[in-house]
């Protein structure tokens, strides 16, 4: 498989994600500039964490207006795989590819911590290698990671099995302890925790590896 890591000005987990693909699951990967106009030839698009344009406005708000986003939207609409992590998740909600919003943490402080997540839906392209209800340990690092949506949207998320990860302990005040969701079609995943930082035991956890392996295993089975 060939992945694009989209590099926005201020992205700072771009190389972490690059190495996760290159060394973690040994697939092809390229950094794609935010000014690029095409994602032709890629099988998956990854939007990394960081502080795009400094996030001085709402997180991800300015990044949602750069040239590459039209192509990301086309890519998602065609049912191709899009993964946004942390700032990537924030950008995906700003683009409207995922419902809801990410607002400042309940305690208004940045939090960097290894947290336990529960895999709520293990039937997605991104999670099929996990057991249902498996508890995994993945780092978070964010100041604006509190997921919010209205009641109707939450109902919809539940009915369509769009909630993929929940925090075991609600570290940031997210509604329904949501840590990651997909769109209705399940080809776009946004999550605040950083699976790309959890690929090796020596870094504290390798529980993130299965997320990336799920993607290539799915591709293998379906090609």
């Amino acid at each position: 498989m060939k992945f694009a890591v989209v590099n926005f000005p201020g992205s700072n987990c771009d190389m972490d994600l690059y190495y996760a693909i290159k060394n973690g699951i040994k697939q092809e990967v390229e950094l794609v500039d935010y000014r690029a106009l095409s994602l032709e030839g890629f099988d998956g698009v990854l939007i990394p964490g960081g502080f795009s344009y400094g996030d001085y406005l709402r997180s991800g708000a300015i990044a949602a207006h750069v040239p590459i986003v039209k192509e990301i939207i086309r890519f998602a609409d065609e049912g191709k795989l899009v993964l946004g992590i942390c700032n990537g998740f924030q950008i995906l909600t700003e683009l409207g590819l995922l419902p809801g919003a990410l607002i400042p943490n309940e305690k208004s402080r940045f939090i960097c911590e290894n947290v336990d997540l529960k895999v709520i839906n293990n039937q997605t392209i991104f999670t099929r290698d996990y057991q249902a209800s498996e508890i995994i340990n993945i780092p978070v690092a964010h100041g604006e990671g509190r997921y919010y949506c209205d009641e109707a949207t939450l109902m919809e998320l539940k009915q369509n099995d769009q909630i993929v990860f929940q925090y075991q302990e609600n570290i940031n005040g997210s509604i329904d302890q949501i840590a990651g969701i997909t769109n209705k079609q399940k080809n776009v995943l946004g999550m605040m925790p950083h699976p790309e930082r959890a690929l090796e035991k020596i870094l504290g956890s390798d529980d993130g590896l299965k997320l990336f392996q799920s993607i290539i295993n799915y591709q293998r089975v379906n090609n």
Binding site: N12, C13, A20, G49, F51, F110, C112, L203
Partner: protein, 673 residues
């Protein structure tokens, strides 16, 4: 200070020092203080301290890999101090998190003398892949001076002189002297500078950060080092405000700006390169070699024409009168004798002292894992970051114990270095170099100058024994409020090399039945201790001389034990002594211990130097004891019953691990409410 070793590629006088770590790679590091700006505008003061130190690293061509910090405040008693602490911590996190560098270590302590004059020291460590690159000079006739980065405004004018002024009730509001940071711009600038030096070093002759005293000091230093002259045209300088005078532009300390010296044939390449990162990049001047004058034009008028060296080389040197502080003479023979009626109660009290309690409340707001190379996060003895693509890792620590330096500047200086070394060695690293921030009061006061002089001597003697050259550093003087000085507070930033990450060691006990040892003898060292502060409420007495030979021997033994894979855990003994080290080693994996010792209850809190707390798997007992030979005591075993059971020669008690841990963990959060 010693500044030579077989590893030194660049030492003091550059933006940062460089040490060879083999395989054509080098480690680059420096620490810097931002004390006064942080007192006036804590968020921006701390944030721009971080931003400035990062620029010092990437201006050497190195890729920054980690940040550390050392912070000192007044006691967490009033709202103003809590505000300062919250804002400084937020500023440090705000900058480091946004630019995407992990903050992997540091320290925070609280003493009354810092209430109106907090200390904010930040350190950055980087890896240099192009060890041939020559940095920081402006040489060669007609070569061009290029300005890159943020626009120049009126912020930070006189920042450097303000930083060297004293605070009093009537003089504490120079807000305009504080700079404002923009980590987003710095991220672009960092990525661009690292890439241009790695890939296109032939385009550029020099590169330097615009730090203290902005354009004037950076350009003059570059010209001076190259032995050339310089002409600048200020009309070309990108400006954020209108009607700025030449004086304002030259002295502005607006952040996130660099100057480069570029060969004329590559100037378009360089400008295009930076513009691709959406950064301002313009030619603002030229190198001259016909004379060594520093000339500035503004609105077509020559506004400055002076010899370059008058700005950089011909600096005044001061030899101030000095005098041993009276307190040292008065209290020379005083020995604090603690009183312990209940070891259990004292243990619980000590574990919640702000200087000892967990600092997680603060450091969990720092991203410690971005870049996915952090092996040991804050909370351990040293932060450890691996070097991608190799088996190596860099261990790093920031240490200071100003209480000791206050009681005896010479011995205190030595202890500061050795404590840093113990932190590095306990992590499995070999100490290879040092940077420092020397924070003191007014040197015109003879007692303060004596403290500065003696503690620097102490630092120098300790560094010589360790073969750790001091390759960079920073001095912050006039840290006073209403004529009362802070404790003399040298901060040591030490870097260690771990050749193979397999030897990485942490302070946490690993498994039940492992044997617990203390390496080094424990005596009645209570002067300057946390126990003295707890029971007497003040510092008093002298310190014993530090046996540097013995210290070195213990460091070497621990290194050998780690390299032979004999230690399950290793922890430096520092504030609060054995009692605190045992507790902290047990917390991470929620283990307990049963300990029986000939020491007294009070000695459990003694702060005798040159000691380590280690745990050893039972099957390694023979090899370990044979290696250490003497000066160790087998204290007991790690248990999995979550009980701390301690028998000293005068008392015995048992405590629930969960209870102790909870108090240790929550103490700071409670105080910050």
């Amino acid at each position: 200070m010693p500044n030579k070793s077989s590893r030194v590629i660049a030492g003091p006088g550059e933006d940062a020092g460089i040490l060879d770590i083999g395989d054509n790679q080098a480690v680059v590091f420096k620490a810097e203080s931002h004390n006064h700006p942080s007192a006036v505008e804590p968020y921006q003061g701390a944030a721009t301290g971080v931003g400035g130190i990062i620029r010092d690293i990437f201006s050497m061509g190195a890729q920054p890999i980690a940040l550390l910090n050392s912070l000192k405040f007044g006691p967490l008693k009033n709202g103003q101090t809590k505000h300062l602490v919250n804002e400084v911590v937020a500023g440090i996190g705000g900058y480091g998190n946004c630019i995407g560098l992990p903050t992997v270590g540091g320290e925070i302590s609280f003493e009354s003398c810092y209430e109106h004059n907090p200390l904010v020291n930040a350190m950055c460590v980087g890896i240099l892949n192009n060890t041939d690159f020559k940095h920081g000079t402006a040489s060669g006739d007609k070569n061009l001076i290029v300005y890159v980065g943020a626009k120049t405004g009126r912020d930070g004018i006189h920042g450097a002189t303000f930083a060297s002024d004293e605070f009093t009730d009537t003089n504490n509001k120079q807000r305009s002297a504080v700079q404002v940071g923009n980590p987003f711009i710095e991220k672009l600038l960092m990525d661009a500078c690292v890439e241009i030096i790695e890939k296109h070093s032939e385009w550029i002759l020099g590169i330097q950060d615009m730090g203290a005293a902005g354009l004037v000091s950076s350009t003059a230093e570059m010209a001076s080092k190259a032995g050339s002259g310089l002409v600048l045209n200020l009309d070309k300088v990108p400006q954020r405000e209108t009607e700025m005078t030449a004086y304002e532009m030259m002295l502005s300390e607006s952040q996130e700006r660099m100057v480069l010296c570029v060969k004329p044939e590559y100037v378009e390449n360089v400008l295009d390169f930076f513009r691709n990162f959406e950064l301002d990049a313009v030619v603002i001047g030229q190198v001259t070699t016909d004379n060594r004058q520093y000339k500035i034009y503004h609105h077509d008028e020559l506004v400055t024409d002076i010899p370059v060296d008058s700005l950089t080389e011909d600096v005044p040197e001061y030899d101030r009168p000095e005098k041993q502080p009276q307190r040292m003479i008065d209290d020379k023979n005083y020995h604090f004798v603690p009183e312990i009626t209940s070891l259990k109660d004292t243990w619980m009290k000590m574990i919640t002292r702000p200087n000892i309690a967990s600092k997680k409340h603060f450091y969990q707001t720092y991203d410690s894992q971005v870049k996915a190379n952090t092996l040991v996060r804050p909370g351990g003895d040293a932060g450890v970051v691996r070097i991608q693509g190799t088996k190596k890792a860099i261990a790093m620590t920031n240490d200071s114990n100003s209480k000791y330096v206050y009681l005896n500047p010479f011995v205190g200086g030595q202890i500061t270095v050795m404590e840093a070394a113990r932190n590095i060695v306990a992590s499995g690293g070999l100490p290879i170099g040092v940077t420092d921030c020397l924070n003191y009061g007014n040197p015109e006061n003879p007692e303060a100058f004596w403290e500065l002089d003696k503690s620097v001597e102490g630092i120098a003697t300790a560094c010589e024994v360790l073969d750790t050259p001091v390759i960079s550093g920073n001095v912050s003087l006039y840290n006073e409020y209403n004529d009362v000085a802070i404790y003399p507070s040298p901060m040591i930033g030490m870097v260690g090399l771990i050749e193979d990450i397999e030897t990485l060691t942490t302070s946490a006990f690993k498994a039940a039945d492992d044997l617990i040892y203390v390496i080094g003898q424990t005596a009645d060292d209570f002067n300057g201790s946390e126990l003295q502060m707890e029971q007497l409420g003040q510092l008093k007495g002298n310190l014993r001389d530090l046996d540097l030979k013995k210290e070195k021997l213990h460091l070497d033994i621990v290194r050998q034990a780690i390299n032979q894979n004999l230690l399950a855990s290793c922890h430096d003994l520092s504030e609060g002594g054995l009692a605190i080290a045992l507790s902290k080693s047990a917390f991470e994996n929620d283990l307990g211990f049963t300990v029986k010792t000939e020491l007294s209850a009070a000695q459990m809190f003694s702060e005798t130097q040159s000691r380590f707390l280690v745990s050893v798997k039972p099957e390694n007992q023979g090899s370990f004891e044979k290696l250490v030979q003497e000066e160790f005591e087998l204290l007991g075993r790690v248990t999995n019953n979550q009980q701390f059971t301690v028998t000293t020669r005068d008392t015995t008690f048992s405590l629930d691990e969960k209870l102790v841990k909870n108090d240790w963990k929550e103490a700071i959060s409670c105080l910050m409410m």
